[in-house]
Symmetry: C2
Subunit: 137 residues, 2 copies
DNA sequence: TCTAACTTTGCAACCCAGTTGCAACAACTT
DNA sequence: AAGTTGTTGCAACTGGGTTGCAAAGTTAGA
């Protein structure tokens, strides 16, 4: 049953098309962030532009957030239920240099920086690079 | 006199070709980080690939460091004299959402994060986005 | 129910940053 | 002077991201 999926879509005001259900399904099963090219590979038959626009729609409705981890391709991960994509929802991301997987470290809020008052602050991107537990062995 | 420039190149073990002198000159005069496309525009007559390789050479010899500020194009800025591009040399970068300029906040070291021990840590990228003092007016 | 308005999808094409192969050229060595 | 090496310029390509447009699907109104 895709009821969970449909609920989630509905709660974020996104019309539940087949495509969107499938993409959200994948995003939900995924433990790490996923990029558009990766998503394309998961859906051999689906069109790049459609997947692209699906992700954009999800992002706009705050179902997912985008992560620029410096790997060259933007990745996407589900927001937490309470997430409003506001500064206080921001967390650290971890990029594994070996497997290239990106993790949301939801328990690690981004430390505060006290900039000179001449700079206003909108958002902060913090990506830690290293080796993840799976690749440590 | 390009003596300063030549000294700098020499001190980093980079052969002082005309191209490199010119690029380093620009980088030195620049107060903010500069991208390859921007550099191309400054040198209408120079070849993209040459500029690209010049930057790569500089980076390899730790004369400059690259900055991925999430703007879509990687930028480059001079390292400080003492910089070894090690974790302790890392600093926060600031991207102005209005003018798209990127600043090295050399006085702002990246705050430490205590990851679970299952993650090893190699480097951290921290980019603050906001409005710079020039654009605040 | 039939139709008009709107949304979503699929295809194609495009943009642009980054990168590489290769040949011409320059500098350096013996 | 010839050979070796490093540098430059040109061209071409890669790959992620993005957009225009027409076809297909959905929704709502008469």
């Amino acid at each position: 049953m895709g009821t969970e999926i449909d609920n989630k879509l509905h709660s974020k005001d996104i019309k539940p098309t087949a495509m969107r259900q499938l993409v959200l399904q994948v995003l939900t099963e995924q433990k790490t962030a996923i990029s558009l090219p990766e998503l394309e590979r998961k859906f051999e038959k689906a069109d790049k532009a459609t997947l692209y626009r699906t992700l954009k729609t999800f992002e706009k409705h705050k179902l997912i957030h985008s992560i620029d981890d410096g790997s060259g391709t933007v990745k996407y991960a589900l927001c937490q239920d309470t997430c409003e994509c506001q500064p206080e929802d921001l967390h650290v991301h971890f990029l594994c240099a070996k497997c290239n997987q990106t993790f949301c470290l939801n328990d690690f809020p981004i430390p505060q920086i006290n900039l000179p008052s001449s700079f206003s602050l909108e958002s902060v991107n913090m990506v830690v690079k290293g080796v993840c537990s799976n690749c440590m062995i």
